[in-house]
Amino acid sequence: MDRRLLESAWPADEPPPGFAERVVAQAVAKKRPRRWPAVVALIAAAAALVLWVALRPPSSGSHLARERTELSIGARAVAVLEAGAQIGWRGSQVEQREGEVFYRVEPGGAFVVKTPAGDVSVLGTCFRVRVGAAKGTQEMKRKDLAVAAGSAALAALAVVTVYEGKVQLSHAGERVTLGAGESGKVGAGGTKKLSAGEVADTEASLESPKEGGALAAANDNLSRDISDLNKRLAALEKEKSKLQDQLSGAEQELAKRTDGGAARGRHDFDLDTQDWAELAKEGTIKYRHPCFRPNGWKPSPEQMQELGLAPDDVEPIEAAYKRSYERLWKTLRPLCAKAVGNADVADLLGPETCTHVVVDAVRKKDSAGASEAMRQVGEVRAGLRPAPAAGKEQHPVFDAFYALTGELGAFEADLAQTFGPEEAKRLAYAKGMCAGHSTFGGPGPREK
């Protein structure tokens, strides 16, 4: 299709001026805790005070992050440590030895981050501090452990980026103040504001925590362990992939045999009358069924997103699962109760186990009848035999399998009431939906 022509005839909206700034402001604002109306806040404060006394974050501590970690620093600061970062804190004073840490500090007095390179003082803001050794100084540090503290201070460099509020960098009496959106550095060379270009260059010139420091040895061991585990996982994945390929090959081969090689283009358990005609010859029963959940199955928000559904769609899906359970259990429960001699036991077993119990029990008593029932189910589904009249008593194996092989269709029809037929079909066979699959091998063709 001619894109230019289409675009000229179907123009789109352009972003209005200042859109990016508005979005960024919203994003940053949404990260801040909301201010409650005063009355509610007063009531909540009384309750919160009691909780705070019991649950307040420790006023001192230290942490060495092996992965991104969020920590509460006292009552009014949160720090997000990147892997390799190390901090210790007491009250409103933090010592950041190395690594990269993002801080959010609520207003309420001085808050100081001390680094080997210099101090960062704040009054309610959010900012990021990255501490590292300037490249080229690492060897000196390792050789001269006796003066480690002094050399660390000389070699270390901290790069600070401010997102909100103001921050003051200080080193040896020299001070520089950074506002929102500004970056600066502090180290042996003093304190300095940095332009956007200089920030990238300066950060690139820092040794990462992984490259040196006390953390390196511990991290190396951990990395080796993870690397070994990853290798084993990769080998297992490879094996799994190989098995899946073999399985897929076998399924394709089976498909060729059963439908003359035509590509299915649909779910393996989405059977048409031709499929059923083939299965009926052997009396094989195959079906997909919605998960058996008495109260319905509720997809998680992540699953809803994967399924491409809106949050409002959870309720009809959950209800459809509940109705599916009720429909099946209405048929299976009396059959199961008869097979085990007790309805309470049937309730304990549930639909899945009950299906096997019914089939096994009947097969033991009436093998020929059960086999014939299985063939008949296939034939009805293939359209080779009329469906039984509602309410007319059938062989128990027929009743069980007829209900089970028809349930996904009933579930799909139920979903179609809300989602329409095309979407219902997609959902009924979607990977993200909770479903089970069963295949009962057939007894073979009828004896002539």
Binding site: P16, G136, G308, R426
Partner: protein, 192 residues
Amino acid sequence: MDLPAAAPPPTRAGELDRETLLRAGRGDPLAFRAFVVRYERPVFALLSRMLGRGHRVEDLAQETFLRAFRALPGFDPDGPARVSTWLLTIATRLALDEKKRQRRPEPVVLDAPAPATPERVARQHELRAALAQAIESLPDDQRAAFVLGEFHDFSLQEIAEALGAPVGTIKTRLFRARDKLARALDEFKEER
């Protein structure tokens, strides 16, 4: 200046560079602004073609970026998905949710720049009318597949993932949408 020890993977054509993306994921407002500036036009284009121009487009564009901001820390810039595909998938789903909420579909407003001659005015008017009719008649799922494929260069697989439907279904939706719109455009071409 010292160079980093290992060169980062190259930036994908047309996409925001990896470093800025990572910084945006860490909550850096300046990097996030660069992210918004880079992708705001395709997001507005997609939403306005899905929902009709002016109708809630800015609100939903804003919501798209805010969701992306929350989800960016989990996005792997070295993974198989392009960031534009990922972002436009968020926008598509929001647009489809919005359409579901609407009781009546909003009419598509097509207002191409005014042509120079009276003859062209008449032809453009006819084209817009024909296209508007064809677009209005597209079901939401066909329109989404068409907009993603034709305007945003999504592959069949990417459209399938964005809309949560099998590739076969997408092929059908695209075929039907193209068929309807191509017929409207053909009439226009014949007249030119």
